[in-house]
């Protein structure tokens, strides 16, 4: 599990670095964001292959929709990453876009106002540096919060429940809290 723990740490750091670079002078650095994305992807792949090897019994409790993406934990984590840093350039469009419509059906009860935004919001990724004609008014989160959310996310995803439903709660709370401040 050492590899998987290291992979998780690298992913978390990549995320916090990407988040921190948003408030940097000079704007998002494309090269750095790309390298962080690559590190995160390779760390994630290694993390999942390590976890898949050790947690094969959880696959029975996963949703049928899990066939769209490699396994439930990555989806849960992907979505939690999605919540916490909306501008992060992300995982292959396939798994997320396939997962999204199925999640919409499953999570009717747990939907938060934030959700609607998330579905309709275009995946920003590196397009954050493209000219978009509205000023960027994103709520800022410090890296401590990001790490906390991710740690919560990864803990919850162990349970085999709908990771997405439980993960959105801290995210939603976060965004709502920031909006009201």
């Amino acid at each position: 599990m050492d590899v998987s723990a290291e992979a998780k740490r690298i992913m978390v750091q990549a995320l916090s670095k990407m988040y921190g670079s948003r408030s940097q002078r000079g704007g998002l650095r494309l090269h750095r964001s790309l390298l962080l994305t690559l590190v995160m992807k390779s760390a994630r792949d290694i993390y999942h292959s390590a976890r898949a090897a050790s947690e094969s019994q959880d696959s029975q409790e996963e949703k049928p929709a899990a066939s769209d993406s490699p396994s439930d934990p990555p989806r849960g984590e992907d979505e939690s990453m999605d919540t916490s840093s909306p501008e992060v350039p992300e995982e292959p469009p396939k798994s997320a876009s396939a997962a999204e419509p199925t999640h919409a059906e499953e999570d009717q009860e747990n939907r938060s106002p934030v959700r609607v935004d998330r579905h309709s919001r275009k995946r920003r990724g590196k397009t954050a540096t493209e000219p978009d004609f509205l000023p960027c008014k994103r709520a800022k989160m410090d890296s401590g919060e990001v790490l906390r959310i991710l740690q919560d996310a990864t803990l919850r995803s162990n349970s085999g429940q709908c990771a997405r439903g439980t993960d959105t709660l801290p995210g939603a709370h976060m965004l709502r809290a920031v909006a009201t401040c």
Binding site: I10, H31, I46, G125, T127, C136
Partner: protein, 477 residues
């Protein structure tokens, strides 16, 4: 034996003590003994810095470049300033002292800007300076920040007209009734004044951050490079530029690599190279097509599978690419190595030099403290026989391509007195640490040498260590 060759440290240092100055260094670059002749940026910023240990971020040097004759040395910093040093003429009175570099001109090249459309601040940090070849009494250089390239003219004024009829010496208009005779103004000598004026501003050419500029050998055009595009400009025309390379994918989510550096061939005005974050170099010929998306040559070394790690992609990203003066070779710098490529061989580099391989096992910590993203530059000497690049702890490394010797030197005030010979340094990688060696864990990663430059024909180097500039010359007796 060569005094600075690191591999024979103990024996060489003994030899040096026995016969310190009697043996002059051999003529070739391999035998140089490096002497500190330091220019301290803090002297220039005298009025701003009171505490010697306090360095403002604006003073951090972000680029250094000799001009084509080596007479001038330009530095750019994070605060958008350019400081130009000039070598003083060698005087007959002190023949043993070769020309020293003194401040010649200081000017504010770029200011911080705000892009209102994207709500982004544009940093004033000077990313690169490139000199134009000298064609008249004035000097010209190109300096760039993330978005805008500027052409600056640096000229001297040592005469001024005196004896105007309608105004007096202070410039005040004279009372016409007091003018009783006419005279012709004459040019009289004045204290030398060096003026820097912006002659061209090349703006709005780049959506992404500019990382390189390169003047073409035709002396009419130059190119500017950002993460995804390369633009060709004419030095006289600021409202138009041609896009010659565009690697932006239709869907940004499919982006897998960015351009990290680019340079024109030193003699062939149609040829240029650009390096990528994936560790490859593409050579393009502008005669082939208007848009050089298809390369003429593709240089890439297959990855060693045994070295694969989480960080393989990051450390293979090329941070600098430089043609040799001859135009026959290419040099690239990635995080751990410097490679020399033959333009005629695309499959693998001709030579690979390990800059600081002891960091390979520390990549995780270097990733945590962000050092793994540092972009080191590399430079050739005038004869293309020695290459140099920086490292951490204010170390910089030189590799002699002919003798295969290498040396590690340190740029620091504590360890070097002016005119003292630099002592080679060594990093201890494990096991017993010898005296004078430094262990990997004791290295100071906040002291990094990213920018260095080598005089075009002599053994004079300039090394930027955070906010200090060090100039070293080889010792002659």
């Amino acid at each position: 034996c060569y005094p600075w060759a690191g591999s024979r440290l103990s024996r060489d240092s003994v030899a040096l003590r026995r016969t310190p100055w009697s043996r002059p260094p051999p003529a070739d670059a391999g035998g140089t003994r490096w002497v500190l002749e330091e220019i301290d940026n803090r002297k220039i910023n005298n009025s701003f810095l009171r505490d010697h240990n306090y360095a403002t971020e604006a003073d951090i040097i972000s680029t250094v470049e000799f001009n084509s004759t080596g007479e001038l040395l330009a530095t750019g910093d994070k605060g958008g300033r350019v400081v130009v040093f000039q070598r003083e003429q060698e005087s007959k009175n002190q023949p043993h002292r070769r020309g020293e570099y003194n401040v010649y001109s200081t000017f504010q090249s770029h200011e911080p800007e705000f892009d209102y459309l994207k709500s982004l601040e544009i940093e004033e940090k000077i990313n690169k300076i490139r000199w134009l070849p000298q064609q008249n009494a004035a000097y010209f250089l190109l300096s760039t920040n993330d978005k805008t390239v500027k052409l600056w003219k640096i000229s001297e004024r040592d005469k001024r007209p005196e004896g105007y009829n309608l105004k007096d010496e202070d410039g005040r208009i004279r009372d016409p009734s007091t003018i009783t005779s006419l005279r012709v103004p004459v040019l009289r000598p004045m204290d030398l004044m060096v003026e820097a004026t912006p002659r061209r501003v090349f703006s709005n050419g780049h959506t992404y951050h500019i990382n390189s500029i390169s003047v073409n050998s035709d002396y009419e055009t130059y190119m500017s490079t950002d993460d995804l595009r390369i633009n060709l400009w004419h030095l006289e025309i600021t409202n138009r530029s041609f896009n010659i390379v565009d690697i932006k994918p239709a869907n940004m989510e499919e982006l897998t690599e960015v351009i990290t550096a680019a340079e024109f061939h030193p003699h062939q005005c149609n040829t240029f190279v650009y390096s990528s974050s994936k560790g490859s170099i593409r050579l393009c010929d502008m005669r082939a097509a208007a848009l050089c998306d298809n390369h003429s040559k593709f240089f890439e070394e297959p990855e060693d599978p045994s070295n694969r790690s989480f960080f393989s992609e990051i450390i293979s990203s090329i941070s600098d690419v430089k043609f040799s003066h001859s135009g026959r070779y290419l040099m690239t710098r990635d995080y751990l190595t410097v490679k020399v490529w033959d333009l005629n061989m695309e499959s693998k580099p001709l030579e690979t030099y390990q800059v600081h391989d002891y960091l390979r096992s520390k990549l995780c910590s270097l990733y945590e403290n962000d050092c793994i993203f540092d972009k080191f530059e590399c430079v050739w000497n005038g004869s293309d026989s020695v290459i140099m690049t920086g490292s951490y702890n204010n170390f910089f490394r030189m590799f002699d391509r002919n003798t295969k010797r290498d040396v590690t030197l340190e740029a620091s005030r504590e360890n070097s007195k002016p005119r003292a010979i630099l002592k080679p340094r060594k990093v201890c990688v494990g096991g017993k640490r010898r005296k004078d060696e430094i262990s990997v864990d004791s290295l100071d990663f906040s002291k990094k040498i990213l920018h260095t430059t080598w005089h075009p024909s002599e053994n004079i180097i300039a090394v930027a260590a955070t906010n200090n500039l060090y100039i070293f010359q080889d010792k002659v007796n």
